[in-house]
């Protein structure tokens, strides 16, 4: 529907640069505050590390000035002791600072992941149909990782380098203001060059990342599409296209490599240049007796060591600029309001998604009424439903039929309150749905999707998904009712020990521990379908919603599914998006949908007599030879 728009808007966010006040750091305050002690300790220790590194060369200078110059080893033992003590303190602070960085990165990442994931659970389905899984996943996992890394390692690195550079400059000025000018005048040049190259590198790296993801996508396509590529005989074409992408990748990488090489060499050359200048000037000064030999050696050390930190400082700054995009996307996700919200007084009584107050929950009987309901999706003003009214007494089976894309899901989405009517009301047992919480409603609806979705884990865990408190017997009953015994027998047989055969019950029970694989991968589509029906049965729902699978399963499995469906429907209010004749004929009421509107409703025989849309659909589909 609106996937078109969302796809293009996602692409835009991919490469945009965002500018937020203070790099967007204020938005992170809420995540940093609980860990402020770690944070402060991280910052302080890292600044200390930078300062320590400034003092270290002074030992060298002291040794030259006192022992070498004065030709005496007096007090060298004390010197060594002091040096060692200093080293120890430095190492301890170093270790703490590194650990604090790692800790900060992890706890910050953890909290942000948790906040975004938890928030996602409260969002309405519309959000998930507007944004692809990959996009949302990247927000929860990659953006948070990136922000956490910048806020710990990069930030510390920046502070460390800042302290070192500032400290070194101050130290040089104190030691000899004149000589220090030689080094200091080089600094702005380095900063400007770093900023220039950094910008170039960021752009090239973006190109490389992009080419890299295209390479992965190409591999993926050639692997998953292997059969299709073979049947179409387009190997050569695919290889040619791949080769041009990999050539591009090489091009960008080499170009980036060169820019980087130029950059680092410029920095290191300026270091040597500073050293040469210091030697030249300092030598003269030293000859005149204005500075000691020790000071000269310290100056040379600083001159050589100061250039890299400046480069790093610029890099950190650039990563903070880039991080704003991540912050923006992350906070946008966390501040998205759910389309469907429970009212405060409803939440008060029924509890929210994470803290239900089940003691206040009423039973549900299954009388449904659509009262003057109008509805349109957010992305268009066209009404999909217009002043639609329908009464469904409890126990009625309603079948919704129509062509692919005609809008059969709309009614079900409204009934389940995945969306809310633009106008009008939907009443459950005579009470407006909005008077009670979403969780209350959802816990009482049994729902089977067209494409069954299982979670990785055991069969038992998947069964308990609908009803945590179910016993093994309940599970076996539900699986039996769904006609899915065969699956357990198949899996159980794999556990079977021939020497000591299990009884049937223990065989089935052992199969409950069988893993279904990621997304239920280890099972066939038909098996997944049956298990997801069993899962719905276990809820003992009063309302049953089924989006019948169109994808073909073999006739035997189809029969099983059919049986399970009629079993589950018995005595329950049910809404079926139906494709199979037998399901449709069993329904008490049929709604025919075309172009998003309900154009006919009635029983099978009524609609057949009418010889309208339903009649045409029916005769076409089920009586074949109309050609």
């Amino acid at each position: 529907m609106n996937q078109n728009n969302s796809a293009s808007s996602q692409k835009k966010t991919g490469s945009e640069t965002v500018h937020l006040p203070f790099f967007g750091l204020p938005r992170l305050a809420v995540y940093i505050r609980p860990h402020r002690r770690i944070f402060v300790s991280m910052i302080l220790t890292n600044m200390a590390v930078g300062l320590f590194d400034i003092f270290l060369p002074l030992f060298q200078s002291y040794a030259i000035n006192h022992f070498v110059a004065e030709k005496s080893t007096d007090g060298i033992g004390r010197f060594a002791g002091l040096y060692l003590a200093f080293l120890l303190v430095q190492v301890i602070v170093n270790t703490i600072s590194a650990y604090r960085c790692g800790q900060m990165e992890m706890v910050l990442g953890r909290d942000m992941k948790k906040a975004s994931f938890d928030h996602l659970q409260t969002l309405s389905l519309s959000y998930f149909s507007e944004n692809s899984v990959g996009y949302i996943h990247a927000r929860v996992i990659s953006d948070t990782d990136r922000i956490a890394a910048v806020m710990s390692w990069y930030l510390s690195d920046g502070l460390w380098n800042l302290c070192f550079v500032t400290g070194a400059v101050v130290m040089m000025v104190i030691l000899n203001p004149r000589l220090s000018l030689t080094v200091i005048f080089l600094l702005p040049v380095i900063i400007a060059a770093s900023a220039f190259f950094q910008k170039k590198l960021v752009r090239l790296n973006r190109l490389i990342r992009d080419a890299n993801s295209r390479i992965s996508a190409a591999y993926n396509e050639s692997i998953t599409g292997a059969l299709t590529i073979k049947t179409l005989v387009i190997e050569d074409r695919m290889q040619k296209e791949f080769s041009s992408v990999s050539r591009e990748m090489r091009q960008y990488s080499v170009r980036a490599g060169r820019v980087k090489a130029l950059f680092v060499n410029l920095i290191s050359f300026s270091g040597w240049l500073a050293l040469a200048l210091v030697l030249m000037q300092g030598g003269v000064l030293s000859r005149q007796g204005l500075i000691t030999l020790g000071t000269l050696s310290v100056f040379m050390t600083y001159a050589l060591k100061m250039m890299d930190p400046i480069e790093r400082l610029v890099e950190v700054l650039s990563s903070m600029i880039q991080m704003q995009v991540n912050i923006e996307r992350f906070t946008r996700l966390c501040s998205t309001q759910p389309r469907v919200l429970d009212r405060p007084d409803v939440l008060e009584k029924y509890g929210d998604s994470f803290h239900p107050k089940k003691e206040n929950w009423e039973p549900l009987y299954g009388d449904i009424e659509f009262r003057d309901v109008s509805f349109h999706y957010d992305d268009s003003d066209e009404l999909v439903l217009s002043h639609f009214s329908l009464k469904v007494p409890q126990g009625t089976a309603v079948a919704i039929v129509g062509e692919t894309g005609a809008g059969k899901s709309t009614l079900v989405n409204l009934l389940c309150r995945f969306y809310e009517p633009t106008e009008g009301q939907i009443l459950v047992d005579g009470i407006d749905e909005r008077e009670r919480s979403q969780l209350w409603l959802h816990s009482k609806i049994g729902y089977v999707l067209q494409t069954p979705h299982l979670f990785s884990g055991s069969i038992r865990e998947n069964m308990l998904y609908g009803c945590e408190t179910a016993s093994d017997d309940d599970i076996l009953d539900a699986i039996h009712a769904a006609g899915a015994d065969g699956i357990l027998e198949r899996i159980g047989a794999q556990n079977q020990n021939l020497k000591d055969p299990l009884g049937r019950r223990s065989l089935l029970l052992s199969a409950l521990d069988g893993q279904v694989g990621e997304g239920g991968d280890r099972l066939s589509t038909g098996e997944k379908q049956l298990l997801s029906i069993a899962r719905a049965i276990l809820v003992r729902p009063r309302i049953f919603v089924l989006d019948e699978a169109t994808s073909s399963v073999d006739t035997e499995t189809e029969k099983l599914i059919q049986k399970a469906i009629s079993h589950i429907m018995k005595g329950k209010t049910s809404f079926l998006i139906a494709h199979r004749l037998s399901t449709i004929r069993e329904a008490d009421l049929i709604l025919a949908v075309q172009d998003g509107r309900i154009i006919e409703q009635g029983s099978h025989s009524e609609l057949m007599k009418k010889k309208g849309y339903y009649y045409r659909l029916y005769t076409r589909q089920f009586s074949g030879n109309t050609l």
Binding site: Q3, A63, I64, F67, V68, K71, A80, L84, L87, L88, Q90, V91, I92, N94, I96, A98, Q103, G109, R110, F117, Q121, T122, F128, V133, I136, Y219, E221, S222, I223, A226, L227, T231, L232, V233, I234, S246, S253, G257, R258, L275, A276, L279, M280, G283, V284, S297, M300, F354, P356, E403, T404, H442, S456, G466, G519, G526, T550, K559, S623, G624
Partner: protein
């Protein structure tokens, strides 16, 4: 036609060194150039402290400071130029090697037999193609050259240091094995913890992924809280595993700092002592310290590099697994031995003409992993007819078509498939497949525009031809509903098509192949009944002379076939016209009755 000969020369190299050399071959010169530059850098750079030494020592005697400073600048300039050469040649060499490796892997993947693809998980192959190649690149272009570079650095540094003062050099040298050994010891341990962290990270990512793809189920069952807890638990585990690792790393870094700090301290203390007793000049002392500080980081990283080099071996093996797998032709040649004798004298037109004839399956048997899939199947599909195949999942009906398209190869003793009397094993593989258009049940679309998808078999297709194909496939309306029409990108990066839309696109794509033989493997299953009829009607009227094979569960789809074959457990159960089969009261009749329960189908009128 000579397509098959252009297939990549296999890297049939089984040992690790051989495989690495195979890829390095194309960029060996660049690598050597880079190593040469590296040596020059070290030599020039390490001469600078000597210049400083002399300058400092001649301070009192009045040496020429400007000359020394200039010499330093010249040496530095030379070092910097060669270093630029080292980095850029190395990058060029590495990227050339990577490109060769990527291209070869990709080409190999395209030409590996279907059975190989079925046995190997996508994620696993992806890992090998991306992470493992990266790791090999890291090994060859960084670790290997780094070890080389560091070795030169150490050797040249010590050359200078030994010249200045023997005893002090021994103190400096003694630290090297200690530092390297220590970091190697630690890195082996850290590597293990990294694996644990990686695993936890993978699990966390999977949980998030599953939650997002199954969000409807989560909402429908009201399991938000459960999901929150599940994710929260894994999030904790993941965080803890990393914090554990961080503790170890911080400790490792700290101890490393201490070790090198002590080494520097010893040199300062002893250097001072030697200066005082006159065995070392102040200038030498400063130079000595410079050499030592230049070595600190390279030596510390040596341990890490060595410990990570061991991983490369595994990666090379993992890539070798793909590159050394026999490609389709090699695998098939082994399978069918003498049976296949591709007749390369056949022209494309001759083959196309052949394909219009009768297709005969003669005593075809086929096993998959020792499970018999087909047993002694014989039947004939008359050229130009419409032929239906019905059967349950696992009855072997799809396998028939995979054999016909030679996606699986029949071995010599398992019967034969002949088209116009010619054994298909004698027809060159690409030519055969070009003449057979297959639409799969779960069609795969490429991540590009819908127009490019349709015209993917022939880039020379005119937009008129594309339009005609999509018209037959009843796709026009769908395309018109997209704002960018044929330029709409489909798949992951674009619009998600419904199952039916995908199937129809695949049909249009297949039609552009202009194949005289077409197979629809349950490829209208997700299309609604009205469209199904429309497509079949269009196909029938416009492609009347083609042989059409329809595989389906839906009897309505098969009813207009000239003949229907019913498969059951890998055997031919029934064969005949729909009317004959209906009267026969067998499987076909049962399926008919099941699907058309009301019995409103008037077969007798046929």
């Amino acid at each position: 036609m000579s397509r098959s000969r252009k297939r990549p020369e296999g890297a049939a190299v089984s040992n690790r060194t051989g495989l690495v050399l195979h890829f390095v071959r194309g960029s060996a010169f660049l690598f050597l150039l880079s190593i040469f530059c590296s040596m020059m850098v070290t030599l020039l750079q390490l001469y600078i402290p000597r210049v400083i030494e002399e300058a400092v020592d001649s301070l009192e005697s009045g040496g020429n400071l400007v000359a020394s400073a200039l010499l330093i600048v010249v040496l530095a300039l030379g070092a910097v130029l060669f270093r630029y050469g080292r980095i850029s040649f190395n990058e060029q060499a590495a990227q050339t090697m990577m490109k060769a490796m990527r291209d070869e892997l990709h080409a190999r993947i395209l030409h590996l037999p279907l059975s190989w693809h079925q046995q190997n998980a996508t994620g696993d192959i992806m890992q090998r193609c991306t992470n493992d190649t990266d790791r090999i690149n890291e090994f060859v272009s960084h670790q290997l050259t780094d070890v080389f570079r560091i070795a030169i650095l150490i050797a040249v540094s010590f050359f200078h240091m030994f010249q200045m003062n023997l005893r002090l050099s021994f103190i400096a040298a003694a630290a090297i094995p200690v530092v390297v050994g220590y970091s190697l010891f630690f890195h082996v341990r850290i590597g293990k913890r990294f694996l644990v962290c990686d695993e936890e990270e993978g699990l966390l990512s999977t949980i998030a992924q599953e939650n997002l793809t199954g969000i409807r189920v989560v909402h429908a069952f009201g399991r938000e809280r459960y999901e929150q807890e599940r994710f929260g638990r894994q999030n904790e585990r993941y965080t803890d595993s990393w914090i554990d690792l961080m503790k170890l790393l911080a400790l490792f870094w700290g101890c490393g700092d201490l070790l090198s700090g002590i080494q520097v301290m010893l040199i300062i203390v002893f250097g001072s002592v030697f200066c005082v007793n006159g065995t070392l000049t102040p200038g030498q002392f400063i130079a000595f310290l410079s050499y030592n500080s230049m070595m600190v980081w390279p030596v510390r990283s040596l341990g890490r590099i060595i410990s990570e080099m061991s991983k490369a071996g595994v990666s090379i093996d993992r890539i070798g697994y793909i590159l050394n797998a026999p490609d389709e032709e090699a695998a098939f040649a082994k399978e069918s031995r003498a049976a296949a004798k591709p007749d390369s004298a056949l022209t494309e037109e001759e083959i196309a003409e052949l394909m219009r004839g009768d297709i005969r399956f003669e005593h075809v048997s086929f096993r998959f992993d020792d499970t018999p899939v087909l047993s002694d199947v014989s039947f004939t599909i008359p050229g130009g007819s419409t032929f239906g195949i019905l059967g349950a999942t696992g009855s072997g009906k799809s396998t028939l078509m995979l054999l016909l398209d030679r996606l699986y190869e029949l071995s010599e003793e398992s019967g034969s498939i002949r088209i116009s009397g010619k054994d298909i094993r004698d027809i060159p593989l690409p030519a055969l497949r070009k003449q057979i258009g297959i639409v799969l049940q779960e069609p795969f679309l490429f991540s590009r525009t819908i127009g490019e998808n349709i015209s993917i078999t022939r880039s020379s297709l005119t937009s008129e031809e594309i339009r005609r194909a999509s018209d037959i496939a009843a796709l026009e309306d769908t395309i018109d509903s997209f704002s960018s029409g044929y330029d709409t990108v489909v798949g992951e990066r674009g619009v998600t098509l419904s199952g039916g839309q995908k199937q129809r696109t695949a049909i249009a794509r297949m039609l552009t192949q202009n194949a005289p033989l077409m197979v629809f493997d349950d490829s209208l299953s997700a299309v609604d009944a009205e469209t199904d009829v429309r497509i079949r009607e269009a196909l029938k009227s416009r492609l009347s002379d083609a042989t059409v094979i329809l595989i389906s569960h839906r009897v309505t789809t098969l009813m207009e076939a000239d003949q229907i074959l019913v498969m059951e457990q890998g055997r031919v159960a029934e064969l005949g016209s729909p009317a004959q089969l209906y009267r026969k009261n067998g499987i076909y009749r049962r399926v008919c009755d099941l699907q058309l329960s009301a019995g409103e189908v008037d077969h007798e009128s046929e």
